[in-house]
Each structure stands twice: as structure tokens, then as C-alpha cells.
């Protein structure tokens, strides 16, 4: 009974290793994804994202390690795995000379959707992916955005518990990215989605959790906020202030001992200058800062903002960290 209360996680990867002819592409990767989560898989080119995803689908065998999808081992039960996943590979390959509805119908048959339900399900998916207008068009003649949506429609067609998409938004314009993002977000809670991407804001908006991978290793994992804290290790504020800056430091350390000025801008015509402050504390200090500085007659405060480092900063810092880690032993 207790097994039914806690179903196995959607994706469970332990010590996954994959090497091509002795060259490691993925080395010792472990992570777990709970059901209903949307996970972003980030990494520079050649980091091992696609390889990991292909291993998850059972398309490529791993060199060593364990991969379980919904408690089913990929290595020994590839047939069962194929019923659990919807997969959209990199570059979204589609047959050029089929119509959209024909293709989805064929796929539905292969994915063992019962014939009675297939037509209803097709209508649903076409609606979900906004493909009704192009259902009778030849896939080879569709624009990239539509092709991408056909790929996503194909992946979600059989309502599998796990959906794996390799760069679903690559090459799309901002408007199309928005549509695809909404589409992925609409799957939240119903299906587990693993997407890889280079486009960081994209991942940040859509995903519950991010896994950053570089050189075949996991560099960081967590929610975007956790990652900011973990990788960058500080919170930053930005002040626009006029007054005796020299006296400010003492005041700041009264508020929070670790709060220091890291950067000062030029004074503008009104006597204001921009200051960057950082602190190791996780507590929100904005209100306190505002209260202290406005009550103090020596300072005139014009602006206060908490700086939000983008995922881009985190990503760059995290990948830089691995390169340092990898490079150091090779030099010694």
C-alpha cells in the first residue's frame, strides 16, 4: 500500500556514464525528477544534453549507470519505456511529404492509441497546439514555428507521463517562443517535461527546476532562485543616492554586517550617484535600507532596487566553474 502512496519519481538517473569510443560525453550524472515537474536542461554545445536525453528515451544505450522512468528501468525494458515517453529530438525531424493530420494519425496508431479515441485525441492536440488551420497542409511546406508545434503535438499525442524535448524553441521568433512556452506550461502538473535549451530566460520562465550540465557533468541543480544564491553566493542592491558617501559604509554595516559597497558610479548633475551593494545575507533588506536612508538627513535617496541576476549570470558562472575544475587537474 505504501508504494502506491509514494509513486516512483518520473525520472531517476544514477551515475550515468556514456562514452563514444573512449571519449566521455556524459560522466557520472545523477538527478531525479518528480512527477508533474517541468525541468530545464541547460548547457553549452557539446555538454551532453542530447546524449543524456537520448539515453533517457532508450534510443541510445548507456555505457554504465541506471536510468529509471516511473520506476521502469530503461536498459532492460525498452518496450515499456516507449509507452512512457513522448520525445522530440533536436532539429525536430519530420517527414516532408505528409499532411499534418495524416502524420499525427500515423503516429497515434504507432503509439497504440485505440482507434475509437484517436480522432478525439487528434482534435484535442490540434487545438492545444493551435494547428487546426494547417491540419491539411504538407509538413514540408510549413513554417518553422508550425513544424515545431507539429513536433510538440506528436510528443504529447499519446499523453505519456514523461515528455522529453530537445531544444523545442530553437530558431523560433519571439512570438512563436511565447506560444511554445505557454504550450509547455499548460502541461504542468499533468506530465513531467524535460526540455533542453540555450535560451535562458525561456527556461527561467517555464521551468520549475534547472539542471546545468557542462562537459558531461552536472554543475548545478535547483530552482532559478536557489541557483542564484548557490552559484553567485550574494544578493545585490542598487541605490541612487546623493550625500556623503563616505559615511554610508558605517551606516550600512549597522543594518547588516556583510553589506558592502562594491561599485560606485559617477555623480550626475543632481548630485546623485549609483551605488551597487552586495550582501551574503538572504534576508530581504530593501525595506530596512529604505527606512534608514530616508530617515537620515545626510542622504537623499532617489531609487532603490534589488538586483536580480539573470539565469544567464548563473549559467556563465556555473559553466566557468566547471571549466576551472576540469582545467586545473590537467595543468598539474
Amino acid at each position: 500500500m505504501s508504494d502506491e502512496v509514494t509513486p516512483p519519481p518520473a525520472i531517476e538517473v544514477q551515475n550515468l556514464v556514456k562514452s563514444y569510443a573512449g571519449v566521455p560525453a556524459v560522466s557520472d550524472v545523477s538527478f531525479t525528477v518528480q512527477r508533474g515537474e517541468i525541468i530545464g536542461f541547460l548547457g553549452p554545445n557539446g555538454a551532453g544534453k542530447s546524449t543524456t536525453m537520448r539515453i533517457l528515451t532508450g534510443f541510445l544505450p548507456a555505457t554504465s549507470g541506471v536510468v529509471n522512468l516511473c520506476g521502469v528501468p530503461v536498459a532492460t525494458e525498452p518496450d515499456a519505456i516507449k509507452h512512457l515517453i513522448g520525445y522530440m529530438p533536436e532539429n525536430n525531424p519530420l517527414p516532408e511529404d505528409m499532411r499534418v493530420s495524416e502524420y499525427l494519425h500515423y503516429r497515434g496508431r504507432l503509439k497504440e492509441i485505440p482507434r475509437r479515441k484517436l480522432n478525439d485525441r487528434l482534435e484535442e492536440v490540434l487545438e492545444l497546439c493551435d494547428l487546426k488551420r494547417v491540419r491539411h497542409r504538407i509538413i514540408g511546406k510549413l513554417s518553422k514555428g508550425f513544424r515545431q508545434r507539429v513536433g510538440i503535438a506528436e510528443a504529447v499525442l499519446a499523453e505519456p507521463p514523461v515528455i522529453i524535448m530537445d531544444e523545442p524553441t530553437i530558431g523560433l521568433d519571439p512570438h512563436q517562443i511565447l506560444i511554445v512556452r505557454d504550450l509547455i506550461a499548460s502541461l504542468r502538473g499533468r506530465m513531467t517535461v524535460l526540455i533542453s535549451s540555450h535560451i535562458l530566460p525561456e527556461i527561467e520562465v517555464t521551468c520549475d527546476r534547472v539542471i546545468i550540465i557542462n562537459q558531461g557533468r552536472i554543475v548545478a541543480t535547483g530552482t532559478p532562485n536557489e541557483l542564484r544564491r548557490e552559484i553567485l553566493g550574494h544578493t545585490a542592491y542598487q541605490l541612487e543616492i546623493a550625500g556623503e558617501i563616505a559615511a554610508l559604509s558605517a551606516l550600512l554595516s549597522q543594518i547588516e554586517p556583510t553589506l558592502v559597497i562594491t561599485k560606485q558610479g559617477e555623480t550626475d548633475a543632481g548630485g546623485f550617484r549609483t551605488l551597487h551593494l552586495t550582501t551574503e545575507s538572504d534576508e530581504p533588506l530593501g525595506e530596512e535600507l529604505l527606512r534608514v536612508l530616508t530617515n537620515d538627513s545626510r542622504f537623499r535617496l532617489r531609487g532603490l532596487a534589488r538586483e536580480r541576476p539573470t539565469l544567464e549570470d548563473v549559467f556563465l558562472a556555473a559553466t566557468r566553474r566547471t571549466w576551472e575544475m576540469v582545467d586545473t587537474p590537467s595543468k598539474s
Binding site: 541510445l60 518496450d79 504507432l110
Partner: protein, 276 residues
């Protein structure tokens, strides 16, 4: 007693599961088969191949009629006509099969196909039978030529060699198409696959008949090789079939060749996945 019944129950459930999985496999096979036939029927290259095939065969047929009209012949038209089978085989089979696996691999659709609940076996068999279906459909069209001849003068039609010739085409076609599929699984480039398939078929049909007359094989030491080559004479098989002799050894030769070529295609597809 109870134990035995229990064991029986387990056995039934086990068998039911196997039967069920077999049925889903067969279903997938037919889904892929009908899809492949449909794709072949909407592809222009199929019609180009069909037109070329029928014009070549029509040309042979008219020149044969010409020949018969000048002097009485010992053999019936059917025997004469089927002797030219290798010309269309060498060009048609590569044209029909070169696209099948090579194109899917080049586009990357093989990856999406194999991540649905289908196995490589179903994919390869589906493609094979689709190509075979089309190959036979084209040969069936040549029946029209004989129908014209029959309406013209029924004396020319000798039913034995005619049926024997078509049986030969049907059985040898299995192996030729399987070789084409195998060639297509070797490369991601259609043209390369086509040339490989042409070369293999040429070696099998023409090469072996040339090899049988090589003086080296007349040597006593080479006798086993000579016997083996002697069994694999496609033209001899045709002659036997045309005379109404259906030799099971020859049927076995084509069937086992087909199975072997298909097994090699399946292995090639899987091995290429492992090393992709």
C-alpha cells in the same frame, strides 16, 4: 489438483500476454506497411520508375513479337519474355528500395520512429513488404501484355511457362527486394544505397553466372565451390520455373536469402544506432 489448476492458470495468462504482444506487433507491422505503401504511391519517383519499367518491358515484348512474326520459334513467348527479367530487376529494385531506410536516417525520422513503441524488426519488415508489394504490382502490369497477345492469338499462350515465370518473379523478387532494403540500411545517402544495391544484384544475377564458367573452378580442388556456385544460378532457376519445375531447393535458396538479407538489415539499423 489445486496446484495443477493454478499452474494452468498462470500458463494461460502467460500465453495470453504473449498472444497479446504478438497481436500488437502485427498491428504495428500493418500500420507501417500501409503507411509505407501510401508514401510510395504518392511519391513521383514511383511513377517514373513504373513508366520506365513498363516502357522497357513493352519494348522487349514488341521486339519479341517482331521476332516471332518472322519465323516459327521452339520456345513459347513467355519463356522468351522472362529471360529479360534481369534488366528491370537491376534498375527497378534499387529505385524502389534505395529511399526506404536511407532517407529516414538522413532526415532523422528514424529516431522518432524508433522511440515510439515499434521495434526495428517491424520497421524493416514493413518497408520490405511495401517495396515488394509495389514490385509485384509493377510485374502484374506486364500481365496486360500477355492479355493483348491472348486476344490476338490464343495459340501463343502456353499457360505453364507463363505461370511458372510469374512464380519465379514472385519468389526471386523476395530476395532481390530484401537485398535492396539491406543496401538502403547501409548508407544515409540514397544514391550510394542505390549503387550498392545495383552492384549486389548484378553480382548475384550476372556475376555468379559468369563465375560458373571461370576455368579456375574447373579444377578438381574447387569442386565444392563449383557446386555451390552451380546452385546459385538465377538464370537456371528461371529456366526450371519456366518449364514448370518448382524445385524446393531453389525456393529455399531465395527464401533463406531473403531472411538473411532482412536479418542483416535489422542488425545494420541497430548497430548504426549503437554507434550513432
Amino acid at each position: 489438483m489445486g496446484n495443477g489448476r493454478h499452474a494452468f492458470k498462470i500458463l494461460t495468462i502467460f500465453n495470453l500476454a504473449r498472444v497479446f504482444s504478438f497481436i500488437t506487433h502485427v498491428k504495428h507491422f500493418f500500420t507501417i506497411l500501409s503507411h509505407e505503401i501510401r508514401m510510395l504511391l504518392v511519391s513521383p519517383s514511383t511513377y517514373i520508375a513504373a513508366v520506365l519499367f513498363l516502357s522497357v518491358m513493352g519494348f522487349f515484348f514488341t521486339s519479341m513479337l517482331d521476332y516471332y512474326s518472322t519465323a516459327a520459334q521452339e520456345t513459347t513467348p513467355a519463356v522468351f519474355f522472362f529471360q529479360y527479367f534481369c534488366v528491370p530487376v537491376l534498375f527497378m529494385v534499387p529505385l524502389l528500395t534505395m529511399k526506404s531506410i536511407a532517407e529516414e536516417r538522413r532526415l532523422g525520422t528514424l529516431e522518432t520512429l524508433l522511440t515510439t513503441p515499434v521495434s526495428t524488426v517491424e520497421v524493416v519488415l514493413g518497408k520490405f513488404f511495401a517495396a515488394y508489394f509495389l514490385y509485384m504490382a509493377l510485374w502484374a502490369c506486364t500481365g496486360g501484355l500477355f492479355y493483348i497477345l491472348y486476344r490476338f492469338d490464343a495459340r501463343f499462350i502456353d499457360i505453364g511457362p507463363l505461370v511458372g515465370g510469374y512464380i519465379f518473379i514472385a519468389i526471386s523478387g523476395l530476395m532481390f527486394v530484401a537485398i535492396g532494403i539491406f543496401a538502403s540500411s547501409l548508407s544515409r545517402n540514397q544514391a550510394v544505397a542505390g549503387i550498392i544495391s545495383f552492384t549486389l544484384l548484378f553480382g548475384l544475377i550476372v556475376g555468379l553466372s559468369v563465375l560458373a564458367n571461370v576455368t579456375l573452378l574447373q579444377n578438381e580442388v574447387m569442386k565444392p565451390v563449383k557446386t555451390a556456385v552451380g546452385y546459385a544460378q538465377v538464370f537456371h532457376h528461371l529456366a526450371d520455373f519456366s518449364h514448370g519445375v518448382v524445385d524446393t531447393r531453389q525456393v529455399l535458396f531465395y527464401v533463406s536469402g531473403t531472411v538473411l538479407a532482412l536479418i542483416f538489415s535489422i542488425f545494420t539499423v541497430e548497430v548504426k544506432l549503437l554507434h550513432s
